[in-house]
Symmetry: C2
Subunit: 738 residues, 2 copies
């Protein structure tokens, strides 16, 4: 494994480990050179070899390669740290014998060599931050060959094997590995509800109780299964407990410097209560988000209902698109605004660690996503259907605006004929679980790719026309001398072109992909009883998703720096939360819509009794919690294979150590014994012995010593004991013989 | 500390560490002596000094003292094991320098020396089990002086100090220490609701919303606080993670022996799925318990209502006691039957570890306790009050039995006049939270003490009359020779008499006391809105409880063998569960009973709407869960002092190690460098350098080597970079100058 990855790492990309982009735009020449010198010296001091090539017109590409010896030492140091934090079981071998085990470890350690502070053995480069502001990017290069090979292979498979996942992890690190592993588990798990959902749809239609129960149970089992699976993976990838090793945020602003009493170091602190007070702002933020997005969505929803179901004036065919256009325009805009507020709030909370920051941001992002994704369906299910006949007349207010086109009678006639569209809910669910997924796929994969291609073509065209790459557009004057080809050596031309392309890509954030999957899971948990084909759609979608996400990482993003992880993080809680909320929504959907015969003349369910609905919810929720507890307990008792292996390893390490302690004891045993065993002469009588002891010790003052001197050695004790037993048995025997 | 405890351990009880009771009743003489020899040899081999004295007429007392050297080694071994399991941070000092830190550690280690298997360095004695069946007890002796002193001191204090708790822990071990710590925290926390409850009772009366909300919040905070406190204590007492070191149950019956692939050892396994199937029996068990106890309680309840509120015939004053007598007789009997079923079920589940067994048993015990403790109040609140007027007429069935005494008119007149007693619920809550606590206290502390005294007097009397202790009663004939005084040396008489008394006591189970407190907490969480003085009563009660429990341990039980613990175990979950259920019950109580004016003519609340009740419950419960989440999150961010200290220590250990690694690196730095930095001659031009490199390497086949040879050393890179920057800046400057 080691040699293989090593060979790989050396075999492609001309052995370049990392590319550091150094921009000298907007900086004076001498200052730029000075900075560059400092940068190269820092890299070299950290044990990194460098080569410089030209980037675009205002940047340099610094290619970095780690010296073998220094890399080995850095790997060793990283492993020692892991060992001390309990991530590794065994103490690592000495530095001289060590090799990075995987490409991901190699790249992660080199990234540490570049970014760790100098005191901790790195070069202290902090891209785009502080004194290294001009270092715009630090990233490894894609392994184009392998990526292409994998994409080809996977397109022919249904399920990725564990080996495939291991390989992803070896290339891209545990963090990306965890995402693909999750996606794969989720996809594999979807097979069951897909089949079951299809059967239910075929035989029972929508709103089937059986499907709902099975679906809820499936959600519980999946979430709990994934929790176990996560643990197992973290054992297998040796990252268990890695989240305990927290990296501090550079942006953290300490309130004051405090000398730590126990460690004796100065460290910045920020009072936890103060942060909590700031975090309370999340509540108004959540309210704001709910109101802002809620108003937009509800308004568009109302307009849509009005136009599609009440209005029948001219231009209806065109007007019908207004709400869709409005939603498509306003919701993303508002989301973006809210996102920027969320980010600001999160910055304001001033988290000390990266993990803390990410978790807090995830929570806020989730609030926004929850509203944008599920609110429309909630509105249809729990407002439109039960209350439409009462609310719709108020939509009349719009009539005023369109009155010129509608005759009064017409409108009122329409109104009295108003019928709730019972298929609306189903259509909406279908829209969100099929159409939106496809649109999302296109937006995520095809559009950026096309855009990229177009952009490059445009740039090339510009370059040809202007003789320069068209990045700082306006500043350039057309009469610049043409540098179409950089001053590259011919044999490196292709390579450098590829590197320059990769520099232009953006950075990959695994959390975005995770969010997408969690939101998808939410539709399944919350609304799939409406249309049991939801899991079928997702099953198909996720087959594509897995491959397209890989394609995306390879083609549309810079290769991510490998990060370690032992969990998918806060999204795990999100899954649990969604499946919980699902137990409430599905129960109420079933109660409200199952048995269509009960619907009134307006298509409205007539006999929804508040108490019965609430009782259904109460039972469903508590049944859910009970089942979850049972599944949790059961799962906790089934130990996954790698966890067991890990435990056995830990046990062995301990046993070896303890055995050696015991052996040391045994060897010591001979020269021991502060209680000298005296084997008393045979046939000695109890009284003579004890009297003897009593006599010899009666002069000592310590009663305890006298007590313990009565019987010297265990053999004497046996004799005394035997005496007592015999005395008693004599009595007993005597009695029996009587 | 060490010397102090050491001095203590040696200063009283004639330096006896443990007493081992060896019974030779019903065994042949030679066999008994043989067994005794084996026992003493085993003890001696394990490094324990022994002295034998007579016990009662068919047993021996074997006094055990650990040899200093062997004790030290055992302590060392135990600490190494702790270190390997991550319980201790620092590697322990070598065996020769080690001393047990506290009396509890000393006794715990000696207990291990006695009971651990021989392979693990103990004597392998398993009291009352297997080949050591005749060893009836192994226990340390009470420190009478200190116990008395503490009892005296504490009776003058309101709160125990942390030092007091530390001392309890040092004497009785962490398990008992945790109980007292919990009791103390709980008591201290009760001060607030006691004051607040009193004010609410005074100003607002029962069923106050304010009180209910505050009470619920208090429950959440207390449970979360205790979770943190537990962690803190486990850091302070160095037992964090001690539950990871599991002790196997001796009674575990493996299904088959399997060779463990990774450790290479044979070990017994029992399939987890099989155990889970067996655990499913818990469901019928819980149903059985609910039905059995429910029927008894409901019947007695019905009888009581009938007699007290319907019946007015003769003998009413006496008949009124019938239900009380029935409950007092039947419920404990049924509980005992259920307990024995629960124990059997638990044995059948065949747990591998003691912890697993205890947790499973606790769950079953809790089911029984929940029903016996809370069902009566539930019946009153949720059956009697809302439905009494509908149900009571059916109680008529009893009229048949008492008809002879009642005139028909009388009974029916009574029935039509039937009024729900609105005070019944309050009276019942008062009964359970005041009267029952006092009765419980008496049953727990005074009765056994009186009984013990009486039993001893009876024995002495018997002995005098028969000339023998009266234990195997019938067998004895009166003409036995009198052994009133055992054959004891005069100076040991008093001591041995005390030891013989302690042998007769039973073993202390800390879980019983914890259960009592949890059940008490349950009343507070579930029903205290009915009568806000509940916390006042508990506050007073628990002041006494803390002292009386200590008294109980000292006087009515053998001194417990110190056990380590890092939690109060499954009872913690129970607390959380009760406070959760409390959010439901209190909300419904408040909804149903607050505002007495709404009550109908029967004293029955008239306008209980199902949907409103359910909505109240729904909101209350989810508000509870939300608040709990918030409190949990907030608490998690406030690190208790000893946790911080522990973390700092761990950090220091790591840092020291890492620093040494880094230093080793630094020293290594000079003889390093596989990339030889060539400082090129000053003023060298970029092209000449690169050309040079190109020329020199063009013959090599490896393009990567050629790539990396272009710039040798970082100084060269700087020059190349500077060249590129200058080239670009020339353009830029040129442009600006244009």
């Amino acid at each position: 494994m080691a040699t293989n990855s090593e060979a790989n790492a050396l075999g492609y990309n001309l052995q370049v480990d990392y590319v550091v982009c150094y921009s000298f735009a907007n900086v004076g020449r001498s200052q730029a050179v000075q900075q560059l010198e400092k940068l190269l010296r820092a890299l070299s001091d950290a044990g990194l070899q460098t080569e410089i090539r030209q980037g675009d017109e205002s940047s340099l590409l610094i290619f970095v390669r780690a010296s073998k010896k220094r890399l080995r030492r850095a790997v060793y140091r990283s492993r020692v740290r892991d060992w001390l934090y309990g991530i590794r079981n065994a103490e690592p071998e000495p530095a001289s014998a060590i090799e990075p085990q995987t490409e991901a470890e190699r790249l992660r350690v080199i990234s540490q060599m570049i970014t760790l502070p100098i005191e901790e053995g790195g070069a202290g480069i902090t891209p785009s931050h502080g004194e290294w502001e001009k270092v715009t990017a630090v990233f490894p290069l894609h392994d184009v060959e392998t990526n292409r090979k994998w994409m080809k292979e996977w397109s022919k498979k249904t399920f990725l094997s564990d080996d495939d996942l291991d390989q992803i992890r070896n290339k891209f690190g545990e963090s990306v590995g965890f995402y693909f592993s999750f996606l794969q588990s989720y996809f594999r798990f979807l097979a069951f509800p897909a089949i079951f959902g299809f059967s239910c749809w075929f035989f029972l239609g929508g709103y089937s109780i059986v499907y709902t129960i099975v679906n809820s149970l499936w959600c519980i089992i999946f979430v709990e299964y994934w929790k176990r699976q996560e643990q197992d993976l973290s054992c297998r990838w040796q990252t268990k407990g890695v989240s305990a090793v927290r990296t501090n945020r550079r942006e953290f602003k300490p309130e004051k410097e405090v000398r730590d009493d126990s460690t004796g170091e100065m460290r910045g602190v920020f009072s936890a209560t103060k942060r909590m007070q700031r975090q309370l702002l999340q509540i108004p933020f959540a309210l704001l988000a709910a109101i802002a997005l809620g108003v937009i969505i509800a308004t568009c929803f109302a307009i849509e209902i009005f136009i599609s179901e009440l209005y029948s004036g001219p231009l209806k065919t065109y007007l019908i698109f207004i709400p869709t256009i409005l939603v498509s325009a306003l919701v993303p805009t508002m989301s973006a605004v809210l996102m920027s507020i969320a980010t600001k709030l999160n910055d304001y909370e001033n988290h000390e660690t990266r993990d803390g920051y990410d978790v807090a941001l995830t929570q806020k992002v989730f609030v926004i996503n929850f509203i944008t994704s599920y609110l429309p369906v909630f509105l249809t299910a729990f407002v439109y259907v039960p209350f439409a006949s009462r609310i719709v007349p108020y939509l009349d207010v719009f009539r005023l605006t369109v009155r010129p086109f509608v005759s009064k009678e017409h409108a009122s006639a329409k109104r009295s004929h108003f019928q709730i569209d019972p298929a609306r809910l189903r259509n909406q669910v279908i829209y969100f679980t099929v159409t939106a997924q496809i649109v999302g796929f296109a937006m995520e994969n095809i559009v950026p790719y096309v855009k990229q291609g177009a952009f490059r073509k445009y740039k090339a065209f510009n370059k040809k026309r202007n003789g320069r790459p068209g990045q700082n557009g306006d500043k350039e004057s057309p009469e610049r001398k043409p540098i179409i080809a950089y001053d590259d050596p011919i044999e490196e031309k292709e390579f450098l072109a590829r590197v320059r392309n990769e520099v232009e890509l953006s950075e990959y954030e695994v959390t975005d992909d995770l969010r997408e999957m969690c939101i998808q899971f939410g539709y399944l948990a919350l609304f799939s009883p409406v249309w049991p084909l939801v899991p079928v759609s997702f099953f198909v979608n996720n087959w594509v998703e897995l491959r397209s996400d890989f394609f995306k990482i390879c083609m549309e993003f810079r290769r991510p720096t490998p990060l370690r992880a032992d969990t998918i993080g806060p999204w795990l809680d999100t899954l649990g939360f969604l499946s919980w909320v699902g137990s409430i929504t599905s129960a109420s959907l079933i109660y409200m819509f199952s048995g269509n015969s009960q619907h009134g003349p307006n298509g409205e369910p007539t006999d929804i009794a508040g108490w019965a609905l609430l009782l259904t919810i109460f039972f469903s929720e508590h049944l859910y919690l009970l089942l979850r507890y049972a599944v949790e307990t059961a799962m906790a008792k089934l130990e996954p294979p790698f966890s067991r292996k890990e435990r056995a390893e830990r046990y062995l390490v301990r046993k070896r150590y303890l055995d050696s302690t015991l052996r040391a004891d045994a060897e010591d045993d001979h020269d021991e014994d502060d209680t000298v065993p005296i084997s008393g002469p045979p046939g000695i009588s109890r009284h003579s012995l004890e009297d003897d002891a009593r006599r010899s010790s009666s002069h000592e003052t310590d009663p305890a010593e006298r007590f313990w001197m009565r019987q010297r050695g265990w053999e004497e004790s046996v004799q005394i004991g035997a005496g007592i037993i015999e005395g008693q048995h004599d009595d007993g025997d005597g009695k029996k013989e009587q």
